[in-house]
Amino acid sequence: MTPLLETDNVTYTYPNGPAPALSGVSITITAGSKTALVGANGAGKSTLLLMLNGILRPDSGEVRFSGRPLAYDNRSLRDLRRRVGFVFQNPDVQIIAPTVEADVAFGPVNLGLSPDAVRRAVGDALGYVGLRGYEKRPPHHLSGGEKKRVAIAGILAMEPAVLVFDEPTSSLDPASSEEVMELLDELASGGRTVLVSTHDVELAYRWADSVILMEHGRVLARGAPEEVFSDHDLLAAARLKPPALLDLYNELALRGVIAPGAPPKSVLEFTDRVERAMHGHVPDRDEPGQIYLCNADLTGGDDIRALIRSGMVDHVGAMGTRAKEFVGRERILLDYTYGVIDKCILKALNGENSLIITTGGMVGHVQRRIAEYGDESGRVIPVTPVQESASPEPSREPALE
């Protein structure tokens, strides 16, 4: 848990601002963490984020990256900015070039990479966000969610160690929001440090492992989301509402209906908790269903289609942008595109089988999550990896022309 980014007693007032935007803010972002900076509009979140990559310079106090205070000469700033990538709230502000490809290349080109390296970086970044084949499109023909992903790809192409997102889901619809949040999960599970600013308490509650609550340019609280968000007075002071599930849980605990303890983060956990409160344990039902788990990097589309055709699978979900890209290419129909693990566990509890298609590091994540559920609820759900085919297809297609 090494601190990667720190601010130490940072104060800042905008040149024509009436009040300080930040007054004495000290935060620490540890390497590999998923941190959410939570607060109402005007709490100082964006100002703080702009400090972290040197766009704004504190009036007093200090910002440190990897333990070293930021220097504000041009060279150091460029160096900092390739390590601390910043994704703006409004993708229209961030997308500069007239095509998707040219825009994603903007960072790498300015970093002075060779044309080949640029092309590779662009291809990888677009693949990561699931926008292969969009290279030649002009940004104004994309949907809001697609624009956001282009903006993210443009930052990813510079391979930063830290990714900073200002209101990542603002004005996206629920499906696009989930996709973006899943992408952030993927980035974090790939070892990157991810910092998000948001006023969406629900989102921060489900996603973050650490929360910093801000109001009026000050830090009100920091800690695990279930702790910070359980304090209603604190949330009220920050002009925020508690997450609905947490609120209900605390109310039930207050009335003594349910035993206090680590609050549930999902409908699935919550249901189990209520059942346990009523019956002392989660009641056994019929044999639980299977969850098939497929790594799309290793498996061909034919194997999956065969599995689906065999009738052994009732529901199909895909996790992660690369898996979704694969599914689209292979023309596999999906039942679930977000919240996939929880939905499949719920189905398994009802005795139905499902298939989760994912890639790379997410495979381990899925297995851990299901195993954790088994440990907590006492109901073990069998996970069956889908066998690799004898002649696997190439895991990556060449970039489309």
Binding site: I55, R81, V93, I96, V109, P138, M158
Partner: protein, 258 residues
């Protein structure tokens, strides 16, 4: 609001054809029209490229018909002038009571000009409707146009679409509140629209500087574009077509319709 022809260029039926070839065809057709001594060749270009636009590029006829109306008002006014300032040749029509007359020379010149305008405009439509600007940037870069000019053009291109969207929204919200009713309110509403747009432009500019800095801007924009190979049969067809137009132009050069 206007329809942006570039939107069609991004999706038209000839999207896959080499942009260089399309540009070559369009530009050469324009030159042939402008320098044609007679009206037949430009009319031939107008008809054949219109067919290409409608059939090959599959542009909706309704949209294309509206486009053809754009040159009309300018062409009509200019041609009226030309009709009346050309006083040589047989008098065809006289305006009673005024010293104005339409002569055969004037009419022939007017017909030639109309033919050239429509031939030229159809060639321009062909480029505009089939070749996305984004690909033209690549070509210009390879042709050695100064980078700073292309970079500026690319940024302007990007912001045109952002601002035109905002202008459209502002305009709609004014109409919802009954702006543009009488003449005075119209001028007033338009002034507010332009002023608000200016403000948004300024903010966009500041945000753009910030965004470029955050992405390590070092004076470079865009990437080395990859050339799309020209298919030789297509090149052959284009050359034969242009040759035919040139031949018609030379053959019918002295032809007068009146």
């Amino acid at each position: 609001m206007y329809e942006m022809l570039d939107d069609f260029a991004q999706t038209n039926g000839l999207r896959g054809t080499s942009p260089g070839l399309k540009l070559f065809l369009g530009l050469t057709s324009i030159l042939l029209c402008v320098s044609s001594p007679g009206p037949v060749a430009p009319l031939l270009v107008a008809v054949s490229l219109s067919v290409a636009i409608l059939v090959l590029a599959r542009i909706p006829p309704r949209v294309y018909a509206r486009l053809l109306l754009i040159p009309v008002s300018f062409a009509v006014m200019s041609i009226i002038v030309i009709l009346f300032i050309t006083e040589s040749g047989t008098v065809l029509v006289e305006v009673p009571g005024l010293p104005l007359a339409v002569t055969a020379d004037g009419a022939n010149l007017a017909i030639l000009l109309l033919a050239r305008v429509f031939g030229g405009m159809c060639s321009l439509f062909f480029i505009a409707l089939t070749t996305p600007m984004t690909e033209v940037f690549d070509i210009l870069k390879r042709l050695g146009v100064p980078t700073v000019l292309i970079d500026l053009a690319m940024l302007i291109y990007r912001f045109i679409f952002i601002l035109i969207e905002e202008a459209g929204q502002i305009y709609r919200s004014q109409v919802m509140r009954l702006g543009y009713g009488r003449f005075r309110e119209s001028v007033n509403s338009f002034g507010m629209l332009a002023g608000a747009l200016f403000l948004r432009t300024w903010e966009s500019g500041e945000a753009l500087v910030l965004a470029m800095d955050a992405r390590c801007y070092d004076g470079k924009l865009g990437i080395p574009g990859d050339a799309r190979p020209v298919s030789y049969p297509a090149l052959g067809v284009v050359l034969v077509y242009l040759g035919a137009v040139l031949a018609v132009s030379l053959k019918t050069g002295g032809l007068l319709l009146i």
